[in-house]
Protein backbone atom coordinates (compact mmCIF):
# COMPACT_ATOMS: atom_id res chain seq x y z
CA UNK A 1 0.00 0.00 0.00
CA UNK A 2 1.40 3.39 -0.97
CA UNK A 3 1.63 6.39 1.33
CA UNK A 4 -1.35 7.98 -0.43
CA UNK A 5 -3.44 4.84 0.06
CA UNK A 6 -2.51 4.72 3.76
CA UNK A 7 -3.49 8.36 4.08
CA UNK A 8 -6.88 7.61 2.47
CA UNK A 9 -7.55 4.70 4.85
CA UNK A 10 -6.64 7.01 7.71
CA UNK A 11 -9.01 9.67 6.42
CA UNK A 12 -11.77 7.07 6.39
CA UNK A 13 -11.22 6.54 10.13
CA UNK A 14 -11.40 10.26 10.78
CA UNK A 15 -14.50 11.10 8.76
CA UNK A 16 -17.37 12.65 10.61
CA UNK A 17 -20.00 9.96 10.10
CA UNK A 18 -23.08 9.88 12.33
CA UNK A 19 -23.50 6.84 14.53
CA UNK A 20 -25.38 4.11 12.66
CA UNK A 21 -28.95 3.93 13.93
CA UNK A 22 -30.14 0.54 15.13
CA UNK A 23 -32.60 -0.32 12.38
CA UNK A 24 -32.78 -4.08 12.88
CA UNK A 25 -36.07 -4.06 14.79
CA UNK A 26 -37.64 -1.39 12.55
CA UNK A 27 -36.69 -3.30 9.43
CA UNK A 28 -37.95 -6.56 10.84
CA UNK A 29 -41.31 -4.94 11.52
CA UNK A 30 -41.45 -3.93 7.84
CA UNK A 31 -40.71 -7.41 6.50
CA UNK A 32 -43.51 -9.13 4.70
CA UNK A 33 -43.74 -12.86 5.22
CA UNK A 34 -42.42 -14.65 2.18
CA UNK A 35 -45.22 -14.63 -0.32
CA UNK A 36 -46.28 -17.57 -2.39
CA UNK A 37 -44.03 -18.32 -5.30
CA UNK A 38 -45.44 -19.13 -8.65
CA UNK A 39 -44.39 -21.64 -11.19
CA UNK A 40 -45.72 -22.21 -14.62
CA UNK A 41 -46.43 -25.82 -15.05
CA UNK A 42 -47.34 -27.86 -18.05
CA UNK A 43 -47.94 -31.55 -18.56
CA UNK A 44 -44.47 -32.94 -19.05
CA UNK A 45 -45.07 -35.21 -22.03
CA UNK A 46 -46.92 -32.56 -23.99
CA UNK A 47 -44.29 -29.97 -23.10
CA UNK A 48 -41.48 -32.07 -24.49
CA UNK A 49 -43.40 -32.74 -27.68
CA UNK A 50 -44.24 -29.08 -28.21
CA UNK A 51 -40.70 -28.06 -27.41
CA UNK A 52 -39.23 -30.45 -29.93
CA UNK A 53 -41.65 -29.41 -32.66
CA UNK A 54 -40.88 -25.78 -31.96
CA UNK A 55 -37.19 -26.49 -31.94
CA UNK A 56 -37.38 -28.27 -35.26
CA UNK A 57 -39.18 -25.28 -36.74
CA UNK A 58 -36.58 -22.91 -35.35
CA UNK A 59 -33.68 -24.94 -36.60
CA UNK A 60 -35.20 -25.11 -40.05
CA UNK A 61 -36.17 -21.48 -40.24
CA UNK A 62 -33.04 -19.97 -38.82
CA UNK A 63 -30.59 -22.45 -40.29
CA UNK A 64 -28.92 -22.97 -36.95
CA UNK A 65 -25.71 -25.03 -37.27
CA UNK A 66 -25.90 -28.69 -36.39
CA UNK A 67 -27.35 -29.47 -33.04
CA UNK A 68 -24.56 -29.93 -30.54
CA UNK A 69 -26.24 -32.86 -28.94
CA UNK A 70 -29.13 -35.14 -29.63
CA UNK A 71 -31.07 -33.22 -27.05
CA UNK A 72 -30.12 -29.75 -28.17
CA UNK A 73 -32.83 -27.45 -26.95
CA UNK A 74 -31.28 -24.02 -26.99
CA UNK A 75 -31.15 -21.20 -29.46
CA UNK A 76 -28.39 -18.62 -29.20
CA UNK A 77 -28.96 -15.18 -30.52
CA UNK A 78 -27.56 -11.78 -29.74
CA UNK A 79 -25.74 -12.87 -26.63
CA UNK A 80 -28.84 -14.62 -25.33
CA UNK A 81 -29.62 -18.24 -24.96
CA UNK A 82 -33.23 -19.28 -25.32
CA UNK A 83 -33.90 -22.65 -23.82
CA UNK A 84 -37.07 -24.62 -24.03
CA UNK A 85 -37.98 -26.18 -20.73
CA UNK A 86 -40.89 -28.09 -19.33
CA UNK A 87 -41.31 -26.01 -16.23
CA UNK A 88 -40.06 -22.56 -15.36
CA UNK A 89 -38.07 -21.99 -12.17
CA UNK A 90 -39.72 -20.29 -9.24
CA UNK A 91 -39.46 -16.55 -8.87
CA UNK A 92 -40.96 -14.24 -6.27
CA UNK A 93 -44.40 -12.98 -7.23
CA UNK A 94 -43.20 -9.36 -7.41
CA UNK A 95 -39.51 -9.18 -8.24
CA UNK A 96 -37.93 -5.79 -7.78
CA UNK A 97 -37.06 -4.42 -11.20
CA UNK A 98 -34.52 -1.87 -9.95
CA UNK A 99 -32.42 -4.65 -8.45
CA UNK A 100 -32.05 -6.12 -11.91
CA UNK A 101 -31.33 -2.86 -13.65
CA UNK A 102 -28.43 -1.59 -11.58
CA UNK A 103 -27.32 1.96 -10.91
CA UNK A 104 -29.40 4.85 -12.06
CA UNK A 105 -27.51 7.24 -14.33
CA UNK A 106 -28.35 9.95 -16.84
CA UNK A 107 -28.53 9.10 -20.53
CA UNK A 108 -25.41 11.22 -21.10
CA UNK A 109 -23.51 9.29 -18.42
CA UNK A 110 -24.65 5.99 -19.90
CA UNK A 111 -23.44 7.11 -23.31
CA UNK A 112 -20.10 8.16 -21.85
CA UNK A 113 -19.64 4.88 -20.04
CA UNK A 114 -21.06 2.41 -22.56
CA UNK A 115 -18.33 2.30 -25.19
CA UNK A 116 -20.92 1.84 -27.96
CA UNK A 117 -23.67 3.96 -29.48
CA UNK A 118 -26.54 3.88 -27.02
CA UNK A 119 -29.80 4.17 -28.94
CA UNK A 120 -33.12 5.50 -27.71
CA UNK A 121 -36.72 5.64 -28.84
CA UNK A 122 -38.36 8.87 -29.99
CA UNK A 123 -39.75 9.38 -26.49
CA UNK A 124 -37.25 10.22 -23.77
CA UNK A 125 -36.86 7.35 -21.29
CA UNK A 126 -38.12 8.00 -17.76
CA UNK A 127 -35.01 6.45 -16.24
CA UNK A 128 -31.67 5.07 -17.39
CA UNK A 129 -29.62 2.42 -15.57
CA UNK A 130 -26.19 0.94 -15.98
CA UNK A 131 -26.13 -2.72 -15.06
CA UNK A 132 -23.99 -5.82 -15.30
CA UNK A 133 -21.77 -6.42 -18.29
CA UNK A 134 -22.11 -2.80 -19.36
CA UNK A 135 -25.81 -3.18 -20.09
CA UNK A 136 -27.62 0.12 -20.53
CA UNK A 137 -31.30 -0.11 -19.59
CA UNK A 138 -33.81 2.51 -20.75
CA UNK A 139 -37.00 2.40 -18.74
CA UNK A 140 -40.25 3.98 -19.90
CA UNK A 141 -42.72 4.13 -17.02
CA UNK A 142 -41.72 3.35 -13.45
CA UNK A 143 -39.97 0.33 -11.92
CA UNK A 144 -43.31 -0.65 -10.38
CA UNK A 145 -45.24 -0.13 -13.64
CA UNK A 146 -42.86 -0.40 -16.58
CA UNK A 147 -44.38 0.28 -20.00
CA UNK A 148 -41.31 -0.37 -22.09
CA UNK A 149 -37.85 -1.58 -21.24
CA UNK A 150 -34.93 -1.51 -23.65
CA UNK A 151 -31.65 -3.25 -22.81
CA UNK A 152 -28.49 -2.77 -24.84
CA UNK A 153 -25.53 -5.00 -24.05
CA UNK A 154 -22.20 -5.11 -25.87
CA UNK A 155 -20.87 -8.55 -26.62
CA UNK A 156 -17.82 -9.98 -28.31
CA UNK A 157 -18.55 -13.60 -28.84
CA UNK A 158 -22.08 -14.84 -28.73
CA UNK A 159 -21.14 -18.46 -28.25
CA UNK A 160 -18.69 -17.90 -25.45
CA UNK A 161 -20.27 -15.03 -23.64
CA UNK A 162 -23.87 -15.59 -22.90
CA UNK A 163 -25.32 -12.42 -21.49
CA UNK A 164 -28.67 -13.65 -20.47
CA UNK A 165 -30.61 -16.79 -20.51
CA UNK A 166 -34.25 -17.07 -21.31
CA UNK A 167 -36.17 -20.15 -20.40
CA UNK A 168 -39.44 -20.51 -22.19
CA UNK A 169 -42.38 -22.67 -21.32
CA UNK A 170 -44.54 -24.32 -23.98
CA UNK A 171 -47.09 -21.49 -23.83
CA UNK A 172 -44.52 -19.00 -25.10
CA UNK A 173 -44.41 -18.38 -28.85
CA UNK A 174 -40.94 -17.87 -30.31
CA UNK A 175 -41.05 -16.34 -33.80
CA UNK A 176 -38.03 -15.58 -35.97
CA UNK A 177 -38.01 -11.97 -37.20
CA UNK A 178 -35.67 -9.59 -38.99
CA UNK A 179 -34.89 -6.15 -37.57
CA UNK A 180 -33.29 -3.98 -40.25
CA UNK A 181 -31.85 -7.14 -41.75
CA UNK A 182 -30.52 -8.44 -38.43
CA UNK A 183 -31.68 -11.79 -37.16
CA UNK A 184 -33.98 -11.67 -34.17
CA UNK A 185 -36.77 -13.41 -32.33
CA UNK A 186 -40.06 -12.27 -30.87
CA UNK A 187 -41.22 -14.00 -27.71
CA UNK A 188 -44.86 -13.65 -26.76
CA UNK A 189 -47.65 -15.44 -24.94
CA UNK A 190 -46.83 -16.92 -21.56
CA UNK A 191 -44.11 -15.07 -19.67
CA UNK A 192 -40.60 -16.43 -20.00
CA UNK A 193 -37.88 -16.54 -17.42
CA UNK A 194 -34.99 -14.14 -17.73
CA UNK A 195 -31.70 -14.81 -15.99
CA UNK A 196 -28.75 -12.45 -16.33
CA UNK A 197 -25.29 -13.94 -16.27
CA UNK A 198 -22.18 -12.23 -14.97
CA UNK A 199 -18.74 -12.14 -16.57
CA UNK A 200 -18.00 -15.69 -15.46
CA UNK A 201 -21.30 -17.05 -16.69
CA UNK A 202 -22.77 -17.30 -13.20
CA UNK A 203 -26.33 -16.16 -12.67
CA UNK A 204 -26.59 -12.70 -11.12
CA UNK A 205 -28.35 -13.32 -7.84
CA UNK A 206 -31.10 -10.77 -8.04
CA UNK A 207 -31.87 -10.72 -11.72
CA UNK A 208 -34.34 -13.52 -12.19
CA UNK A 209 -37.79 -12.43 -13.20
CA UNK A 210 -40.59 -13.24 -15.53
CA UNK A 211 -40.64 -11.08 -18.62
CA UNK A 212 -43.52 -10.14 -20.93
CA UNK A 213 -43.42 -9.91 -24.72
CA UNK A 214 -39.87 -9.39 -25.89
CA UNK A 215 -38.11 -8.60 -29.15
CA UNK A 216 -34.53 -9.76 -29.15
CA UNK A 217 -31.94 -9.03 -31.80
CA UNK A 218 -28.33 -8.04 -32.25
CA UNK A 219 -26.54 -5.64 -34.47
CA UNK A 220 -22.95 -4.50 -34.77
CA UNK A 221 -21.73 -6.12 -31.54
CA UNK A 222 -24.65 -5.03 -29.38
CA UNK A 223 -27.48 -7.24 -28.16
CA UNK A 224 -30.85 -5.48 -27.97
CA UNK A 225 -33.81 -6.55 -25.94
CA UNK A 226 -37.08 -4.63 -26.06
CA UNK A 227 -39.80 -5.62 -23.61
CA UNK A 228 -43.36 -4.35 -23.38
CA UNK A 229 -47.01 -5.10 -23.80
CA UNK A 230 -46.88 -4.86 -27.60
CA UNK A 231 -47.55 -7.19 -30.51
CA UNK A 232 -44.89 -8.21 -33.02
CA UNK A 233 -45.63 -5.43 -35.52
CA UNK A 234 -45.49 -2.70 -32.89
CA UNK A 235 -42.28 -4.17 -31.45
CA UNK A 236 -40.63 -4.13 -34.89
CA UNK A 237 -41.85 -0.59 -35.48
CA UNK A 238 -40.31 0.55 -32.20
CA UNK A 239 -37.07 -1.30 -32.89
CA UNK A 240 -36.75 0.37 -36.28
CA UNK A 241 -37.35 3.79 -34.74
CA UNK A 242 -34.29 3.53 -32.47
CA UNK A 243 -31.84 6.37 -33.00
Amino acid sequence: MTELERALVSLGHELEIPEAPDVAAVVRARLEPRRGRRTIRAPRRLAVAVALVLLAALLATLAIPDARSAFFRALHIGGASIELVDELPEVPAEPDLELTLGQRVTLAEARGEAGFDVLRLDDQPDAVYLGHRGTVWLLHGTPARPRLLLAQTPFHSVDQELLLKKLTAPGTQVEPVAVDGARGVFLSGDPHFLLLLDELGNPVEDSARLAGNVLLWSHDGVAYRLEGGFDRERALELAQSLR
Partner: protein, 182 residues
Protein backbone atom coordinates in the same frame (compact mmCIF):
# COMPACT_ATOMS: atom_id res chain seq x y z
CA UNK B 1 -14.30 -13.30 2.06
CA UNK B 2 -12.61 -11.07 4.58
CA UNK B 3 -14.67 -9.43 7.30
CA UNK B 4 -17.41 -12.00 6.98
CA UNK B 5 -18.44 -13.55 10.29
CA UNK B 6 -18.38 -17.34 10.05
CA UNK B 7 -22.09 -17.66 10.76
CA UNK B 8 -23.18 -15.40 7.89
CA UNK B 9 -23.63 -18.41 5.65
CA UNK B 10 -25.90 -20.22 8.09
CA UNK B 11 -27.90 -17.10 8.93
CA UNK B 12 -28.30 -16.18 5.27
CA UNK B 13 -29.54 -19.68 4.49
CA UNK B 14 -32.09 -19.51 7.31
CA UNK B 15 -33.18 -16.04 6.20
CA UNK B 16 -33.45 -17.28 2.62
CA UNK B 17 -35.92 -19.86 3.88
CA UNK B 18 -38.07 -17.17 5.47
CA UNK B 19 -36.60 -16.90 8.99
CA UNK B 20 -37.13 -13.24 9.95
CA UNK B 21 -35.16 -13.58 13.17
CA UNK B 22 -32.09 -14.76 11.23
CA UNK B 23 -32.43 -11.79 8.91
CA UNK B 24 -32.68 -9.44 11.89
CA UNK B 25 -29.42 -10.90 13.23
CA UNK B 26 -27.75 -10.38 9.87
CA UNK B 27 -28.96 -6.78 9.80
CA UNK B 28 -27.64 -6.18 13.31
CA UNK B 29 -24.20 -7.52 12.48
CA UNK B 30 -23.85 -5.54 9.25
CA UNK B 31 -25.79 -2.35 9.96
CA UNK B 32 -22.74 -0.26 10.83
CA UNK B 33 -20.98 -0.75 7.50
CA UNK B 34 -24.32 -0.66 5.68
CA UNK B 35 -25.07 2.77 7.16
CA UNK B 36 -21.52 4.05 6.53
CA UNK B 37 -21.83 2.97 2.91
CA UNK B 38 -25.18 4.71 2.48
CA UNK B 39 -23.97 7.84 4.28
CA UNK B 40 -20.79 8.12 2.21
CA UNK B 41 -22.79 7.71 -1.00
CA UNK B 42 -25.64 10.10 -0.11
CA UNK B 43 -23.83 12.62 2.10
CA UNK B 44 -26.92 12.92 4.29
CA UNK B 45 -27.81 11.04 7.48
CA UNK B 46 -31.55 11.18 6.77
CA UNK B 47 -31.17 9.94 3.19
CA UNK B 48 -28.74 7.27 4.36
CA UNK B 49 -31.18 5.94 6.94
CA UNK B 50 -33.99 5.89 4.37
CA UNK B 51 -31.73 4.09 1.89
CA UNK B 52 -30.66 1.58 4.52
CA UNK B 53 -34.21 0.73 5.54
CA UNK B 54 -35.49 0.53 1.97
CA UNK B 55 -32.44 -1.45 0.86
CA UNK B 56 -32.75 -3.94 3.71
CA UNK B 57 -36.42 -4.54 2.97
CA UNK B 58 -35.52 -5.09 -0.70
CA UNK B 59 -32.75 -7.46 0.32
CA UNK B 60 -35.27 -9.51 2.29
CA UNK B 61 -37.46 -9.75 -0.81
CA UNK B 62 -34.46 -10.62 -2.98
CA UNK B 63 -33.06 -13.27 -0.62
CA UNK B 64 -34.67 -16.23 -2.42
CA UNK B 65 -32.39 -15.34 -5.32
CA UNK B 66 -29.26 -15.06 -3.16
CA UNK B 67 -26.82 -17.81 -4.12
CA UNK B 68 -26.30 -20.00 -1.05
CA UNK B 69 -22.74 -19.95 0.24
CA UNK B 70 -21.69 -16.80 -1.61
CA UNK B 71 -20.49 -13.76 0.38
CA UNK B 72 -23.44 -12.06 2.02
CA UNK B 73 -21.88 -8.70 2.94
CA UNK B 74 -21.08 -7.41 -0.57
CA UNK B 75 -24.43 -8.70 -1.84
CA UNK B 76 -26.22 -6.72 0.87
CA UNK B 77 -24.04 -3.64 0.39
CA UNK B 78 -24.75 -3.65 -3.32
CA UNK B 79 -28.50 -3.47 -2.78
CA UNK B 80 -28.16 -0.67 -0.22
CA UNK B 81 -25.60 1.16 -2.39
CA UNK B 82 -28.04 1.06 -5.32
CA UNK B 83 -30.73 2.55 -3.09
CA UNK B 84 -28.35 5.23 -1.83
CA UNK B 85 -27.17 6.01 -5.34
CA UNK B 86 -30.69 6.33 -6.71
CA UNK B 87 -31.78 8.41 -3.72
CA UNK B 88 -28.89 10.79 -4.16
CA UNK B 89 -29.79 11.26 -7.80
CA UNK B 90 -33.43 11.93 -7.04
CA UNK B 91 -32.71 14.21 -4.07
CA UNK B 92 -29.76 15.93 -5.71
CA UNK B 93 -28.24 17.10 -2.44
CA UNK B 94 -25.19 15.93 -0.59
CA UNK B 95 -23.12 17.58 2.06
CA UNK B 96 -19.36 17.58 1.73
CA UNK B 97 -17.61 15.06 3.96
CA UNK B 98 -15.82 16.50 6.96
CA UNK B 99 -13.05 15.29 9.21
CA UNK B 100 -14.12 14.32 12.68
CA UNK B 101 -11.02 16.04 13.99
CA UNK B 102 -12.28 19.40 12.74
CA UNK B 103 -9.62 22.05 13.24
CA UNK B 104 -7.06 20.30 15.36
CA UNK B 105 -9.20 19.26 18.33
CA UNK B 106 -7.36 17.23 20.96
CA UNK B 107 -8.30 13.94 22.61
CA UNK B 108 -10.58 11.54 20.75
CA UNK B 109 -10.32 13.59 17.61
CA UNK B 110 -6.60 12.98 17.23
CA UNK B 111 -5.76 11.30 13.94
CA UNK B 112 -5.07 7.59 13.97
CA UNK B 113 -1.38 6.58 13.98
CA UNK B 114 -1.22 6.05 10.21
CA UNK B 115 -2.84 9.48 9.82
CA UNK B 116 0.31 11.02 11.13
CA UNK B 117 1.78 10.65 7.65
CA UNK B 118 -0.05 13.85 6.67
CA UNK B 119 -0.65 17.05 8.59
CA UNK B 120 -4.22 18.10 9.36
CA UNK B 121 -4.08 20.70 6.62
CA UNK B 122 -2.87 18.16 4.08
CA UNK B 123 -5.56 15.69 5.15
CA UNK B 124 -8.24 18.33 4.62
CA UNK B 125 -6.74 19.05 1.20
CA UNK B 126 -6.83 15.37 0.36
CA UNK B 127 -10.45 15.07 1.47
CA UNK B 128 -11.39 18.09 -0.63
CA UNK B 129 -9.62 16.48 -3.59
CA UNK B 130 -11.65 13.30 -3.07
CA UNK B 131 -14.77 15.47 -3.10
CA UNK B 132 -13.78 16.93 -6.46
CA UNK B 133 -13.28 13.53 -8.12
CA UNK B 134 -15.79 12.36 -10.70
CA UNK B 135 -18.55 10.40 -9.03
CA UNK B 136 -17.36 7.03 -10.31
CA UNK B 137 -13.81 7.61 -9.09
CA UNK B 138 -15.09 8.89 -5.76
CA UNK B 139 -17.17 5.74 -5.31
CA UNK B 140 -14.11 3.59 -5.89
CA UNK B 141 -12.11 5.55 -3.30
CA UNK B 142 -15.03 5.32 -0.90
CA UNK B 143 -15.31 1.56 -1.25
CA UNK B 144 -11.62 0.69 -1.35
CA UNK B 145 -10.25 3.08 1.29
CA UNK B 146 -13.03 4.64 3.37
CA UNK B 147 -14.97 1.39 3.72
CA UNK B 148 -11.86 -0.80 3.29
CA UNK B 149 -13.60 -3.28 1.01
CA UNK B 150 -11.54 -5.73 -1.02
CA UNK B 151 -11.35 -5.44 -4.80
CA UNK B 152 -13.80 -8.33 -5.16
CA UNK B 153 -16.25 -6.78 -2.71
CA UNK B 154 -15.95 -3.41 -4.42
CA UNK B 155 -16.67 -5.03 -7.77
CA UNK B 156 -19.80 -6.65 -6.39
CA UNK B 157 -21.01 -3.54 -4.57
CA UNK B 158 -20.57 -1.28 -7.60
CA UNK B 159 -21.65 -3.93 -10.12
CA UNK B 160 -18.46 -3.65 -12.19
CA UNK B 161 -15.65 -6.00 -13.15
CA UNK B 162 -12.64 -6.51 -10.93
CA UNK B 163 -10.43 -5.21 -13.73
CA UNK B 164 -12.50 -2.02 -13.83
CA UNK B 165 -12.03 -1.63 -10.08
CA UNK B 166 -8.26 -1.82 -10.61
CA UNK B 167 -8.19 0.64 -13.48
CA UNK B 168 -10.54 3.14 -11.81
CA UNK B 169 -8.57 2.90 -8.57
CA UNK B 170 -5.34 3.65 -10.42
CA UNK B 171 -6.98 6.58 -12.20
CA UNK B 172 -8.45 8.00 -8.99
CA UNK B 173 -5.14 7.70 -7.15
CA UNK B 174 -3.30 9.41 -9.99
CA UNK B 175 -5.76 12.30 -9.89
CA UNK B 176 -5.52 12.60 -6.13
CA UNK B 177 -1.74 12.51 -6.25
CA UNK B 178 -1.77 15.24 -8.82
CA UNK B 179 -4.24 17.32 -6.76
CA UNK B 180 -2.36 17.12 -3.48
CA UNK B 181 1.09 17.55 -4.96
CA UNK B 182 0.33 20.74 -6.86
Amino acid sequence: MEGRPPDDVALAERARNGDERAFEELVRSHQRIVFRTAYLLTGSAADAEDAVQAGLVKAWRALPRFRPGSPFRPWLLRIVANEAHNRRRSEGRAEALRLRSGRGLPGDAAPSPEGAVLSLERREELLAAVGRLEERDREIVTCRYFLELSEDETATVLGIRRGTVKSRTARALARLREAVET
